[in-house]
Symmetry: C2
Subunit: 197 residues, 2 copies
Amino acid sequence: MDSIPQALQQLIGAFSRLPGIGRKTATRLAFHILKADRTEAEQLARALMRVKTEIRQCSICFNITESDPCAICRDPNRDRSMICVVEDAQNILLIERTNEYRGLYHVLGGVISPLDGVGPEDLHIKELLERLQGVKEVILALNPSTEGEATAIYLARLIKPMGIKITRLARGVPLGSSLEFVDELTLGKALQSRSEL
Amino acid sequence: MDSIPQALQQLIGAFSRLPGIGRKTATRLAFHILKADRTEAEQLARALMRVKTEIRQCSICFNITESDPCAICRDPNRDRSMICVVEDAQNILLIERTNEYRGLYHVLGGVISPLDGVGPEDLHIKELLERLQGVKEVILALNPSTEGEATAIYLARLIKPMGIKITRLARGVPLGSSLEFVDELTLGKALQSRSEL
């Protein structure tokens, strides 16, 4: 399309490489930037570069952080007898937002998935085992996928013999949902784990 | 949320200021950038700045361009007896993609909308009238909104007395759609303008 300025084509291309952003949305975003205040484009450009230069991994829990160790690992008010194991750092955010957990975290960096060529040695499992001194409970907050379940079982086998309690997130009907939108497997689990009122 | 690095919070904020990007999508995009190759973030940052520094308006048709006049106004193969009037430069892209039009364009920069305080003097109408020497047809490709229709009528009143043919886009059922998704007004117009097979 020679009728689009090259700079705009580049921006559309860069936007459409983002996940979930198709060509149409990318075009809309690029035109928004074109019309927007110059500072808006500058802020986004600067934030992009800052993220790539200033953020690294916590050497203890592999959370993302600007200073090592991360804010959670440094926080003296956190309960150091509990470690919540997650697949990636993004899941820490989700759990933090619930305000229900005051322990520490450990980011695995994925799940065991032989089909994708990911074995236990590719994850931060060794580092997790090295952190378990004094820990009383390990919560496995992995995704409820086949790989997540398999990884949970693998970890439980390693950690249980150390005399540490292993728990995982409850399965059940999501709050605020309607039963008709809940899949059979989840509904089955919710029935099995029903609780008395 | 003090558990998110500040740089990441900034990027989430910058993404969520884009139109149609909510907090959740912005978070997903920011984490994508965090994990992505450094060059991907750099390309997006550079494209953002390039768009703001290198793109301006064509002094003839008000299309966006890197060199004035724009590629379409400069193209000797374009039919100079036709001008297609659009609301903004983005619409030129849409029409160019159809490969159905080989004339020139004119970007109004909006539509007449008294409620938003936009009068005819706020649009590039004067510049359009000054370009009509030798023009045989003006196609009004404005959005089929109330304001678009009103602006089309306003322009038609100005241009028709100059002996120039005025046309507008056909109204009807969109191709590949299903009748049940077409609103009544459109269906009504499609019935009125039905063509013989």
